[in-house]
Amino acid sequence: MSETSRPTPNRWKRFAEWDERPLRLDKFAAEDAENGFSAFRSPHDPAPSAMFSSGRVTSMDSKPAAGFDMIDTFIARYHLDPEIAPEAMAMPSLEVARMLVDMNVPRSELVRLARGMTPAKLAEVVAHLSSIEIAFAYSKMRARKTPGNQAHVTNAKDDPLQMAADAATAVAFGFDEIETTMRVARNAWSNAVACAVGASVGRWGTLFQCSSEEAEEIRIGMAGFTSYAETVSVYGTEKSFVDGDDTPWSKAFLAAAYASRGIKMRCTSGAGSELLMGFHESKSLLYLEARCLCLQRAMGVQGTQNGGIDGAPVTCTVPGGMRELMAENLIAVWLDLECASGNDARPTESEIRVGAKILPYLIAGSDLICSGFGSILKYDNSFNASLLNGEELEDYLVLQRDFEADGGLTPVDELRIMDLRRRAVDALGAVLEELNLSQPTPAMKQSVVSASGSDDTESYLPRDATLISEAIKERGITVVDVIKALAKRGFSEEAENLLKLVRLRISGDYLQTSAMVRGGRVLSAINDPNDYLGPGTGYRLSEVRRNEIVAIRDVLTREEVLRAEAIHKAAELKRINYRSLGPAHPGNDRTEVVIGVSPAFGIHLFQTVAGHPLSHVLRELMAGISEGGAKARIVRMHHTADTSFLGLSAARLAGSGIGIGLQAKGTAVIHQRDRLPHNNLELFSNSPITRLEHYRRMGANAAAYAFGKLPEPVVVPTRGEAMGSRYHARVSLIYAIETELTREGAEPEAVDVTLLGATA
């Protein structure tokens, strides 16, 4: 240390390091019920109650009917069942909470009871549950058995070609629904046509929506381009509702309007929206959301998109925020609503919080796990970045495989994706040309096919999309025109797929609760009801589905490892020659260090995990030993492949009593004759980061020990890499190749090693 004075730190440096982590970009809010920042309970939440007089509600949640706001009135008239309420409201909340996690109480019984419960009662019940209980209850209570998922497909330029390619890509990954929206409102029609065409590439059945202004959204639906809507927002306080420019009656009217045009619809609600709109009435987030959900059931919509949609980020700032989001999803499914369970707006910059947020939903399953998984890159998401995005899609695929959980997606190989993207772009190009909307150039199309995001494209810009969009709207182009154009230009498979989807509309089958299309069939809570009653019931991965989920890319096999080794064999043969000298005997030269190599060393395996040719490793060890003044002798072990025993066996043969154990994968140890097997002198356990210079110094140290000295041990520096995750699969396969060659009691074999001239 120098004499010059350094400033005395007044802070543990770790805090400064923590300041730099993405987590610290998240801001957290103190619990403050008065100002709306309370997840589960506020002193202003009413006590649950319901009173009736001749079949009409006279008071609800401690409020007499005369004081009801519009939301109370609507819930009291259309949700609360006077036949069930006296029974349900009288049950202790804790008892009902236990029923929710009791696998012997069927879902149908709980759904019946919910019809007689007020918002405050529903909120009070679920507040008794821990996070794991909520997740379990959710998995038991969700309406449809088979889980699904929804994607956002948007881009920063409103480029229809990219929209089509990305829609086809999302469909290939297995999303059951795709949702688009625009940077420029007028581009709705262009987006809708592009996504409709893109989603018909590869397979059929993906439902599609274009989030825009209500009247426009219905018109686009009536033209046949979209099949569902989910932006019908409801709020938990009257003032928020009115500021949202609607009432329960206007929204319920709209719900009937959508159904009358054969369009599936769900509402949107979720914690935090009232807080963001400034009218929270000092109520807890959960209570307000319980009101929204009772209202939705009352309106007769089949489902909801909730779990803090745009309000998720603010909800995640309060204690228990993420648990609250799960709890409100649970109330939704308990009320028998389809649930597109949020996991939508990105609530954090911390990848750990992202992973933690998604896990309960992934393992519990959900009608739509994300109500907008960003299938595109973050910057292309016109709704704003999602919890999970194009960047992280593979992480999600691996999570499915890790937990053997059906998250609704399926890995797709690279060639297939390229084919689908090309096909989608060509199909949309043909439609644009055929309908005289635009003439995309081959260069535009090509730039889109391989593009990860709109930064990579040389294609349409928002203004171009506007011209296309206005023309579609003004000329009254419908899905029938698009189907004809596809067929005429030879895209009959896509034409057929699109037709099959719009044809479904006639029966209205997909208007029922939790409907999606799988394998050409409508699957809903009616014909695929969640029948969970404990292990062995409910949704289980079929063998076929499991095989799909586990088939991620770049999976190592033993054959692949051996193939990789064989590539190095020829080069190694030019660098080194191993000649057997028969059984090895103990030496008596006090300056001798024995290097004990593993059974497959230089026979089936030719390089370390770090990529060093084994000849180079031996050369360095031998050079180090010689520089230290000792002599090296090489012995191949046949009775063991374990580093410690290789080293100890070598030490017992060495005249100096010092041996080096060396596995083909590069793990090395210095051992001494009279030590316990796992109590060595020096060990290089991190073979992937062990460099040749380390082996040379190890050789020199072995020589030093041979002369009874105590050298400075060689430390291979590590920066804490997740070495195991990178190498363990390969290492285990390599090691199995070694252990297969071992024979119990086999004698060590003396080997004469000649290093040949070839380098590199």
Binding site: M70, T247, V479, L499, I506
Partner: protein
């Protein structure tokens, strides 16, 4: 229909194709790519009918989803309501659009008299009463 539909009739397109017809009477089997190319199919053939919505309402009720069934029943009435009228009434139901109760009651009467939409008319009338109580008949912008 005499027998009520049950959950076993669902999905109708699969289990009861005999019941599934578009607005001009075409069955899904008639709606093929060839017939689209020949120009025999228009958007009208791809629209849902009031009958289909009432059938889905029966199924929803059989599945103990009374409120969903009621929505399908309102929707069945709405099928006959032209888009412009539908969107105009929706607009009137938004806060502050109708500046007096009469405007909503007129809309309700129109739904009843021109489209025999009894349920929708009742629904709009109910809204008019609630809006009056909650003071929503005032200009907001």
């Amino acid at each position: 229909m005499t027998e009520k539909l049950t959950i076993h009739d669902y999905p109708l397109a699969e289990k009861r194709p005999d019941l599934v017809r578009g607005k001009r009477g075409k069955s899904p089997d008639d709606i093929t790519l060839a017939s689209v190319i020949d120009g025999e199919i228009t958007m009208e053939d791809l629209r849902i009918t009031a009958t289909a919505l009432l059938q889905q309402a029966e199924i929803a009720r059989a599945a103990s989803r009374d409120t969903l069934a009621a929505n399908f029943e309102r929707a069945a009435e709405m099928v006959a309501v032209p888009e412009d009228t539908m969107m105009r009434v929706y607009e009137l139901l938004r806060p502050g659009r109708a500046t007096s109760k009469t405007v909503l009651l007129d809309a309700a009467r129109e739904l009843q008299e021109r489209y025999s939409a009894t349920r929708l008319a009742e629904f709009v009338t109910e809204a008019a009463d609630v809006y009056e109580q909650r003071g929503l008949f005032k200009n907001r912008f």
